[in-house]
């Protein structure tokens, strides 16, 4: 029991619960009305999935700067497929997922074949995608596409939005992948100690490519959530997702150096970021202050992690 209390996840859960309760009280329980609660969870789906997309590359000690823009790119592409190309929604959805995975695969292959740092590679693909995104439809907006898909975005089961449930299912799948599957464990082994991994018969290159591909695939899922839940897409989607993509795993206790992840932590941290977001809209706070708060929390989380390592004598 004590070991549970001392985990980062437990601390986050307590903070999340307290924060939620405090916000509920401060808004005269407006937060607990069906409509507000529904919106709260509906727009929590995106930060969860985008945080996981970053987490899977952090697991191997890499970063993916292109996750946010890739999400926007996949969203715009599926909008184009439905509105301009007139294809049915399921095709557009599969195309968004495939596009994300392919871009991720390209990121990974570039990293292992050029030996250029993943940070630089994804910075480059981010910039390229940024250009392509506007190339598809300029600054115009796609809307009025598939009622079925938009209906999926607005649907709820027992008061819980379906897109949020989708995010939870994705989180469970990612957790299962790292905990129980052989490739997932190879990713963590490779991120934790690449030398030992190689000398245990694990291919670090394969781990890097797999992590980047998964990251792209998750960005594709994030795009599907955007297309379904927002009801319209334009080229600016994804611009403001880069910081949240790092905020969730870092606050959630994922090691930047690789080898250590926390799906629960990442989900809880996304919840916290969403709380800050909602407070902003509830109290009409300047948007800039929200960024400032989230930035400060990220910095604080990293410092806290270092402090915790020092207290426990560190991993070494």
């Amino acid at each position: 029991m004590r070991s549970v209390i001392r985990t980062n996840e437990f601390t986050l859960a307590v903070i999340a619960a307290l924060g939620f309760a405090a916000l509920a009280v401060a808004t005269d329980f407006n937060l607990l009305t069906a409509g507000t609660l529904d919106a709260f969870l509906r727009f929590l789906a995106l930060p969860i999935v985008i945080g996981l997309a970053q987490m899977v590359v952090l697991a191997v000690g890499q970063m993916n700067l292109s996750v946010g823009v890739l999400t926007g790119f996949c969203a715009v592409a599926s909008g184009w497929l439905m509105v301009d190309a007139g294809l049915p929604a399921p095709v557009a959805v599969l195309a968004a997922l495939a596009l994300g995975a392919v871009v991720g695969l390209v990121n990974g292959l570039l990293v292992i074949f050029t030996r250029i740092n993943g940070f630089i590679v994804t910075l480059a693909t981010m910039t390229i995608l940024e250009g392509l995104r506007y190339g598809v439809n300029g600054t115009g907006t796609y809307q009025g596409y598939s009622p079925g898909l938009r209906g999926f975005g607005q649907a709820s089961v027992a008061g819980v939005p379906v897109v949020f449930l989708l995010a939870v299912v994705i989180a469970v799948a990612v957790a299962l992948f790292f905990r129980r599957t052989v490739p997932g464990r190879h990713l963590l082994a490779s991120g934790g100690n690449p030398f030992a991994a190689r000398l245990s018969g694990i291919s670090n290159d394969r781990a890097l490519v797999l992590a980047h591909t998964l990251s792209g695939l998750l960005a594709g899922f994030a795009a599907v959530i955007v297309v379904a839940a927002f009801g319209s897409v334009n080229a600016s989607i994804g611009d403001d997702l880069l910081l949240p993509s790092f905020a969730a795993p870092i606050i959630g206790g994922v090691a930047l150096a690789g080898g250590m992840i926390s799906v629960t932590g990442t989900v809880l941290a996304a919840f916290l970021v969403r709380l800050v977001d909602v407070s902003q809209s509830q109290f009409d706070i300047n948007r800039r202050w929200v960024d400032l708060i989230i930035g400060a929390v990220v910095l604080g989380a990293v410092l806290l992690g270092q402090f915790r390592d020092k207290l426990s004598g560190g991993p070494r």
Binding site: V182, R185, L188, A189, N193, L199, G201, I202, P315
Partner: protein, 510 residues
């Protein structure tokens, strides 16, 4: 002559190991003082204390003050040692490639004027140090353009730049040709004529006898010869002092190796991209073949080349008689059932932040998986089995590997290869930093594996360990096998022969 450095009864203990046990070193001005000893005798620890990297647990260090009187000093860090006049040239290079010769030489105390680098003073100071070595080198040249030998000399100039009275040279000729080494020792002699004292650590006895005048021999952390004139000793006496005669043999159950069996692992005139040439070795099932040599002789590199981390460019590798092409460790494991227990368990062997269960099962996850999912329970059962067999003390299989003691960590990194059901095991320095009792347990364990038919290639710098365990000992020097001996378990005779191979490099196969 006056004493310029006096280390008295230094003691340094690491968890489980007493690295220095009242070691004494007295260096006089103008002398070239050889510091000798086998691997693990305590030389590196002593040097690290003299250069302020470690603090001694006992004993004292005395250096002459301004009046020439010796007084006790504490060296808290390498900068302290420099200020106290101790310059060091480590085995590995410590120069910044993009900086000029002058900048590298004066790195620790760059001359400044008005807060900016004083280029004129920098050049003058560097010139002065280079002149001490009679070295004609452009101070403005970036060191990335220098040869290996020139780099070595720049290191010495750097060590002298702080007005050092004592110069420590750790294996200075390891990467030099004979001519370059001669030139370097010419410089050392000239420095000593000018009153500098040099402490020379070298495994090459011929060089030591050519250049040094005084000798201190360390064995098991103790000085068994203290500042004695080198001329009083023959080479054989020095080797005897290094090896010692107090060696107690651990008795292991006798094993018999069938001589007519096909070797499990055979190398025939193998050359590698790592630099090996003409390496031939054979390990039969049930046999322990020792690969002995000094650090840097190419033993671990051979293991890694065998596992596909470097390419084999000539010769043939056979596993159970069939030619083998091993591309990587996965290949070695799954296709040829060869395992490699790495030398540095912390850096290369273990995932310190992950559980013991994961560390043990990493090689067998594919086998444990059902429908693509690894069950935690099967992983735990595996750990329990090996914890039991190898005597690994665990609080729980979920304990992180980083929290275990050195001996237990080593057992975990052995367990993962036993779990993988290998029949050839390359074990690299299995007992470094492990206390005596665990070491004996390890020796029994390794002998037991061989008795059950495993073919073991044992890489070790620990000669007593070799003599205890190996059936045959192959000696490697400079990436080639210079000799192979049948082990008769007579420590004195074996160590004499092995050390002769190492120091003379004669290519005689006994």
């Amino acid at each position: 002559m006056s004493v310029v450095l006096s280390a008295e009864k230094l003691v340094k203990t690491f968890p489980g190991v007493r690295a220095l046990d009242e070691a004494t070193l007295t260096v006089t001005a103008g002398s070239v003082h050889a510091l000798l000893g086998e691997n693990g005798a305590g030389k590196s620890t002593l040097i690290k204390i003299l250069t302020g990297v470690y603090r001694p647990d006992g004993g004292q260090l005395r250096l002459p003050g301004p009046d020439g009187e010796l007084r006790a000093v504490q060296l808290g860090n390498p900068q302290d040692a420099q200020r106290a006049g101790i310059g060091v040239v480590h085995q590995e290079r410590n120069l910044i490639p993009a900086f000029s010769v002058a900048e590298n030489i004066c790195l620790q105390h760059l001359p400044r004027r008005a807060g900016l680098l004083d280029r004129a003073a920098l050049r003058t100071e560097a010139r002065r140090c280079l002149d001490l070595l009679d070295l004609d080198l452009d101070p403005d040249l970036p060191v990335s353009r220098l040869s290996v030998a020139q780099l070595q000399l720049v290191e010495i100039a750097k060590a002298l730049s702080a007005d050092s009275t004592v110069l420590l040279l750790d294996e200075p000729t390891a990467s030099l040709t004979n001519d370059e080494a001669d030139r370097l020792y010419g410089i050392v002699r000239r420095l000593s004529e000018r009153g500098h004292a040099t402490v020379l650590v070298s495994h090459k006895l011929e060089e030591v006898f050519a250049v040094a005048d005084t000798v201190t021999v360390l064995r098991d952390g103790r000085s068994v010869a203290e500042a004695e004139p080198l001329a009083d000793h023959s080479r054989e006496e020095i080797v005897d002092l290094m090896v010692g005669r107090a060696y107690q043999q651990v008795h292991l159950a006798a094993r018999t190796v069938a001589a007519d069996v096909e070797p499990a692992l055979a190398l025939d005139a193998v050359a590698t991209t790592a630099g090996h040439h003409d390496v031939s070795l054979a390990v039969r099932p049930g046999e322990i073949v020792g690969l002995y040599g000094l650090v840097g002789a190419g033993r671990s590199e051979l293991a890694k080349a065998l596992l596909g981390l470097d390419q084999i460019t000539a010769g043939e590798v056979r596993v159970h008689g069939r030619p083998a092409r091993i591309r990587d460790v996965g290949d070695a494991l799954h296709r040829y059932r060869i395992g490699y227990v790495t030398e540095n368990r912390k850096e290369e062997g273990l995932f310190l932040d992950q559980t013991v269960a994961r560390n043990t099962a990493v090689t067998v996850w594919r086998k444990l998986a059902r429908l693509g999912l690894v069950r935690d329970r099967s992983e735990r059962l595996l750990v329990d089995e090996y914890a039991d067999r190898l005597g690994i003390r665990l609080a729980s299989p979920d304990q992180h590997a980083g929290q275990l003691s050195g001996g237990n960590q080593q057992k975990v990194s052995l367990a993962k290869w036993l779990a993988a059901d290998c029949d050839v095991l390359i074990i690299d320095e299995p007992t470094v930093g492990i206390d005596v009792r665990t070491k004996a347990a390890f020796h029994e364990l390794i002998a037991g594996l061989a008795a059950r038919g495993m073919a073991i290639l044992l890489i070790s710098s620990d000669l007593p360990e070799m003599v205890t365990l190996a059936d045959r000992i192959a000696v490697m020097r400079e990436f080639a096998i210079v000799g192979e001996l049948d082990n008769d378990h007579d420590y004195d005779r074996m160590s004499q022969s092995v050390i002769r191979f190492i120091h003379d490099g004669q290519g005689v196969v006994a």
